[in-house]
Structure formats: structure tokens, C-alpha cells
Amino acid sequence: MLALFQKLGYTTLSTLQKLGRANLFILHVVTGLPEILTRVRLLLVQVYSVGVLTVLLVSISGLFVGMVLGLQGYNVLSDFGAEQTLGVMVAASLVRELGPVVTALLFSGRAGSALTAEIGLMKATEQLSGMEMMAVDPVKRIIAPRFFAGCLSMPLLASLFSMIGVMGGYFVGVGLLGVDEGAFWAQMKSRIDFYDDVVNGLIKSAVFGVIVTWIAVFEGYDAVPTSEGVSRATTRSVVYSAFAVLGWDFVLTALMFGGD
């Protein structure tokens, strides 16, 4: 019984400690911003490896998700004779929810895990420690460009996902199932609100970008510097990201769309 309490206490304390370290860490990372602004090249290289290399994955996934939405939406809506509103359904689902959430999950699998593994291995091979001894702050030189590249890339990738998804819904709905093209676009245009839907979706994706990249770089930096430690950190990075994204999605949705 006592052992149970001991274990509980230990787990709680170590979790709190880790949260504390994560917060101090992110403060340290943010202080690297001025340096990045004077050396934009460091950031651009990371935007390429974190963002640009994820474009194909996000585009293909967006296309298929949009096509599935077109099929499923048509099935349900046509029962009520409301297939004219298919465009609204597809666009709203994508812009409000699926764009930010699915992109964040894909992003953590493709880019987040790579960041964690890369940073963890740099730690295991003493590259970070070596940098410290060369009087270069690894958090500012290595972590900060990767973190800001992730924060910058996520909203752009989520927008791309939604845009291609809408195209997918259009191909299936209008091209395959014969929904009226004019109604598809006109209904979408009149019912999707720029601030309520598009901006809120962008805010979501920006928040997810910060969360996923934060988890990824912190797990890498905090990894036990062995092959096993890095492998665990990579797994944790993806798992925690998924939990955090889905949890925060509920909170943000409740705040943005819950009241009315």
C-alpha cells in the first residue's frame, strides 16, 4: 500500500519536474529569436526539411480525405434532399476540424518524429555538448531554428490540406456524383465565414504547430543519450503530440464554436 503511494508520488513529481523543464526550455528557445532573425538562412534550411518535405504527404492525404468527405456527405445529405449543401459540409469540416487536426497528426509523424530523433542523436553523439564547449548555445543554434520552422510551417500545411481537400470533395461531388456546380460553390461561399471558420481554423493550426514542435524538440533535447533513449523519446514525441493535439482541439473547439 505504501509502495503504491510512493510510486504515485514519484510519478507525479517527475511529471511535474518534466513539465517545469519543458517550460524553462521553451523560454530559452524563444530567446533565440533575435539571433534567427539576423541569420534567416538557418531558419530557411529548417523550413525546407520540416515544412517543404511534408507538402507531398499533406497534399495526398488532403485529397483523399476530401474525396471521402464528398462521398460520405453526399450519402447523408441526399437522404434529406440537401445534396446542394455538400460544398458547405466539406469545406466546414475541413477548415474547422480536419485540416488543422489531421495535418497536425501527420506533421508530428513525419516532421516531429524526425526532429526528436535528430536532436536526440545529436545529444547522444555529444554534438550538443561539443557545441557548448565551443561557446555556441545549442538551444539557440540548433533547437530554435527548428522550433520556429515548425511553428511557421504548420498553419501553411493545414491551409494546403484544407484547400486540396475541398478540391477532392469537388471532384467527387460535382464530377462523379453530379451535384450542381454552381450550388456547390455558392452555398460554400455564403455559409463559410472568414472569421468564424477560416481564421479560427488558422488559429487552431498555429496552436497545434507550437504544441507539436515544442513536444518534438523538447523530447529530443531531454532524451536519455543512448540508442534506446532516443527510440523511446521518438515514440513519446508522436504519442504525446497526438494526445495533446486532440485534447487541445476539444478545448479550442469549445471556446470557438461551443457557445452558440
Binding site: T125, G130, M133, M134, A135, V136
Partner: protein, 273 residues
């Protein structure tokens, strides 16, 4: 600048150093002096915290008590900015080389220059080629770290450690896992660089022969304490049975062959119920 007012002959002075990791005491009252311009070796069995000592000197770890003075400044009392200024004057050669794996040899050696100076590209090129020439790897400038052998990686790391013309180099196990030829190359490099660049070197190692051949002074550390010190000759002729066991590599002696265990016969005859 407070440098030089304490004792000009001593670059690093460690007084009553205590450091523990968890409940294990790694250092328990260590006193060391590293003289300027010499090669000082710190030797001891694996796991005695020799690498930890280098990290303490470089300010990557903080002592529990005691002081570490480098060039007249107490390392763990420096602000982060001052500490980084000090580190620019200290080169460290990590056991693995710690080269940046995404940069080629040239860029690795150029890294400290690009981070800390605003020198024009032509000047950086000249400096990097000079440093690479000094370690004999000018021809390898375009290789990536993954294409280098262990010995070459260490030589590149050495070239990188001297790019900012430091006053001191810390070598962490420079000979471990090297074949005889690259071992010989490293021995020669450490000795020549120290003499020609007027450096101070600290070599942490347990390779007795190689280290004794280049060191001016040797400290032997075991179980958190300095157990022997002196010039290589004096150490070889030490009276202490522990020092002799270490220097000769004997299997049994003050450091027993057997890990502490209950009586052998009793252990075999009484299996746990």
C-alpha cells in the same frame, strides 16, 4: 581581467572538489594543479569520473563544493556570458569527436569561426586549411564525418578545437579504440601542438604507455581521490601498490579481481530456498 594575479605558473587549479551523482560520490576532496604550457595527464580506472572532471573544468557541470579556477576565474561563479567567453579559449576533444554530422570536414573546422567571428570567406578558407594541414587532413576537406575513420574524425575534431587558437585543450580519452598507427599520429599531434602553439593540455586517459610518453606530470585518480602524482618516471617507480597495479596492468592487487561477494564455497552449497 583577473587572470594571472594568482599564480602565473598554474592555469587550472582545483581545490577540495566534491561532486556526486545521485548518492555516489564521484570526487571527494580532489586537489589538482595544471601548470601552464605543459601536458598534464589525469589517469585512473574506467568510471572514476575523468570525463566528469573535464566537464567540471569546462563549466558544463557544477561542483557540490570546492573551487575550480581557470586562468584566475572561478568557473562556476561566472555568468553564462563570461563562461562562454572563457570557453572560446578552451578547446575540447571529445572521445567520439563530436563532429557535426550534417557538415563536411571543412565546414566543421570553420564552424567556430563562422559562429564567433565575422571574418571574410577568403580568410576563413586560409585559416581552415592551415588547421587541417596541421593535422594532415587538408586533402579530406570535402568528406563528410560518416566517411572518416575514428582516428581521422578525432584529428578533424582536433583541428576544430584549435581554430580559435585556444590557451588550453582538454583531451577526453584521445587514444581509446585506435589502431597503433593512428595512436602514434595522435600522440605526435598532441605533443607537437602543445609545444608549437604554446598550449596547455589536459589528457584524460587510461592508456598508460601512450599517456606516460607525452605527459609532463601525471595525476592518478581512484574512488574520488588523488592516489598518486608525479612525473611519469616517479609514478613508474612509485612505492604505492595501487599505483603499481595500475601502471603495470596487474589483474589482482589492491583492486581485487573479484567483485565483492559472499564466500564462494558457501555460495555454491547454499542455493536460495
Amino acid at each position: 581581467m583577473t587572470g594571472g594575479n594568482a599564480d602565473d605558473e598554474v592555469l587550472v587549479s582545483i581545490r577540495n572538489l566534491v561532486f556526486s551523482r545521485g548518492s555516489r560520490k564521484i570526487f571527494d576532496g580532489v586537489d589538482l594543479d595544471i601548470p601552464r604550457g605543459k601536458i598534464t595527464a589525469i589517469m585512473g580506472p574506467s568510471g572514476t569520473g575523468k570525463t566528469t572532471l573535464l566537464k567540471l573544468i569546462g563549466g558544463q557541470l557544477r561542483p557540490d563544493s570546492g573551487t575550480i579556477t581557470v586562468d584566475g576565474r572561478i568557473v562556476h561563479e561566472l555568468s553564462l556570458g563570461r563562461l562562454y567567453e572563457l570557453r572560446k579559449k578552451i578547446g575540447m576533444l571529445f572521445q567520439t569527436g563530436a563532429l557535426l554530422t550534417d557538415l563536411n570536414v571543412f565546414e566543421n573546422v570553420a564552424f567556430p569561426l563562422r559562429e564567433h567571428t565575422k571574418l571574410p570567406e577568403s580568410m576563413i578558407r586560409t585559416l581552415v586549411l592551415m588547421k587541417l594541414q596541421a593535422v594532415g587532413l587538408r586533402g579530406a576537406r570535402d568528406l563528410m564525418p560518416a566517411q572518416l575513420s575514428g582516428g581521422m574524425a578525432r584529428r578533424v575534431a582536433l583541428a576544430r578545437a584549435i581554430t580559435l587558437d585556444p590557451m588550453m585543450i582538454l583531451y577526453d580519452e584521445p587514444f581509446t579504440g585506435q589502431d597503433p598507427i593512428s595512436m602514434g599520429v595522435l600522440v605526435k599531434l598532441i605533443r607537437d601542438l602543445n609545444r608549437e602553439l604554446g598550449l596547455t593540455s589536459i589528457v584524460v586517459s587510461h592508456d598508460v604507455e601512450e599517456t606516460a610518453s607525452i605527459a609532463d606530470y601525471i595525476y592518478l585518480i581512484s574512488e574520488g581521490k588523488v592516489v598518486g602524482q608525479g612525473t611519469p618516471d616517479a609514478i613508474r617507480h612509485s612505492e604505492s601498490p595501487w599505483v603499481l597495479q595500475f601502471m603495470e596492468g596487474l589483474a589482482d592487487g589492491p583492486v581485487p579481481f573479484h567483485y565483492p561477494a559472499p564466500d564462494y564455497a558457501a555460495d555454491l552449497l547454499n542455493p536460495p530456498a
